[in-house]
């Protein structure tokens, strides 16, 4: 590794902090330089959507960064056994809040007068949403729910006298322990006290995203508006809202997997034999029931957390790019041919 690269890594925040790998993935994402979001040139809601795309996605990325940094600064020993219950769902709850606020603000946009609205059917919530984005959100939500159900199902209470291993919490009557090596001992960090807030966040995210998309899909359309312009505007709104929610979802899924993987790697060595004053060897180790997959889950968590933050940074950046393109076009500044081509099909 060249010396300057080592210097750069020295100044990066700890690797557990969401922004660290998030920034790296964000930079790498420009291999695909086409914008992933665009602002509508018509419809009267461009500035509101620009605020949502820029400030909203940055707020969610900041929330993910803040809670992951707090987790790094927190004591290594989790004394309660469920200390991180509020940190992991925070990025998703931030995304829920932003989408809910966006829903309210976007509803205030200009509407055609009653009697001048097109007759149209009641549209399903996903009419203007990108099918691929919804699929990604669905897969992330299912992975998160499966993890939460699994981690809740393996939880049990523990007798006060233990034995406890790993990051041992002070005793609690709550089911926050998983049995260690078929009941040999207990490790804290699982159960509903750890994950109920994340369950609630996933449910809220589903409800708020569906409500927001359905409200926008059924906004009245002027009787004189062209169908294609309406579709284009609605698709752009749906895309920004869906991507912000996916960013929060990925960040929370990543944090949950980092936690699940981390407690799953707990290993205790027995029958220690000192071969010198500083060195010892253990004759056998005991581990958690999913030790073999704990490392991949933990590393996958790092990747997903970073992917969520990178996506949010990309939404903010591409919203700024789109806003600048629109302002250039409005002021009549001629664009380079390449820029014009990028505008033409940017949001696809």
């Amino acid at each position: 590794m060249p010396p300057f690269a080592t210097d750069i890594f020295q100044y990066l925040p700890p690797y557990e902090v969401a922004i660290t790998f998030g920034i790296i993935l964000f930079v790498v994402s420009f291999v695909y330089s086409r914008r992933i979001v665009s602002l509508p040139a018509t419809g009267g809601r461009t500035s509101t959507l620009a605020w949502v795309g820029i400030a909203g996605s940055l707020v969610v990325a900041a929330a993910a960064t803040a809670v992951s940094w707090i987790a790094v600064l927190a004591p290594v020993v989790d004394e309660s056994g469920y200390a991180g219950w509020w940190r992991r769902p925070t990025p998703l709850l931030a995304a829920v809040l932003i989408v809910a606020i966006a829903m309210v603000l976007l509803r205030r946009g200009p509407l055609p007068a009653p009697g001048e609205r097109a007759l149209s059917p009641r549209r399903p919530w996903n009419t203007f949403a990108s099918r691929r984005a919804i699929q990604v959100a669905l897969v992330a939500a299912v992975l998160l729910l499966v993890t939460l159900v699994w981690q809740t199902a393996i939880a049990t209470t523990a007798p006060e006298e233990g034995p406890f291993f790993g990051k041992t919490p002070v005793h609690s009557d709550l089911p926050v322990f998983m049995t260690f090596q078929f009941g040999y001992g207990y490790v804290g960090g699982v159960g509903w006290p750890n994950h109920y807030a994340t369950f609630i966040a996933v449910a809220l995210a589903a409800v708020v995203l569906v409500l927001a998309l359905r409200a926008d899909a059924n906004r009245p359309i002027p009787a004189t508006a062209s169908a294609s312009s309406v579709r284009g505007e609605r698709e752009k709104v749906a895309r920004v809202l869906t991507l912000i929610m996916i960013g929060g979802l990925l960040a929370t899924l990543g944090m949950v997997w980092m936690h699940v993987g981390s407690i799953g790697t707990a290993t205790v060595g027995f029958d220690e034999e000192w071969v010198s004053e500083q060195t010892s060897m253990t004759h056998f180790n005991v581990s958690t029931g999913y030790r073999d997959i704990a490392d991949p889950i933990n590393l996958g968590g790092y990747l997903l957390q970073a992917a969520g933050v990178a996506l949010l940074l990309r939404v903010a950046t591409d919203t700024v790019r789109s806003l600048l393109e629109l302002r250039q076009a409005a002021s009549g500044i001629p664009k380079a041919a390449g820029n014009a081509a990028a505008v033409a099909g940017a949001e696809r």
Binding site: A113, P114, G115, E116, R117, L119, S120, P121, R122, N218, P220, A223, T224, S226, A227, S228, R231, G232
Partner: protein
């Protein structure tokens, strides 16, 4: 074209026309009574009265969970066909293809229907 219905019968007439013309397909969901009232600038009771009239004529079916939907056979085509027709109209309009050319393309790709011959290719916007 501004709609501007004032009475329940006016509103029912609009939906009747939309259903029979194929603007709304079989099984397609109508706006909620509240939404219809807002769209037409009328009272909710007036919109509800219009929906009841359509239901009595057998043009729509109201179920509490599923809302009010166009009754089977009331429209010219089922929901899936009308939805795809809307997509075709969106795409054609977005691509600058005229209504006449779009219909001509539809005729040409429809099995068993004689396509319309042109001396020269149609140009968008040229009558």
């Amino acid at each position: 074209m501004p709609l501007g219905p004032r009475s329940a019968e006016d509103v029912a007439d609009l939906f009747r026309g939309a259903i029979r013309s194929g603007q709304l397909g079989d099984g397609e969901r109508l706006p909620t009574v509240r939404q219809a009232a807002r769209d037409f600038g009328i009272a909710q009771a007036t919109a509800a009265k219009a929906y009841r009239a359509l239901e009595q004529e057998g043009l729509v079916i109201t179920r509490s969970a599923a809302g009010t939907r166009v009754a089977p056979g009331a429209s010219r085509a089922p929901q899936s066909v009308v939805e795809q027709a809307r997509v075709l109209a969106d795409v054609a309009e977005g691509a600058g293809v005229s209504f006449e050319d779009t219909v001509a393309v539809l005729r040409a790709v429809w099995p068993g229907v004689e396509p319309v011959e042109h001396d020269e290719p149609g140009r968008p916007g040229v009558p």
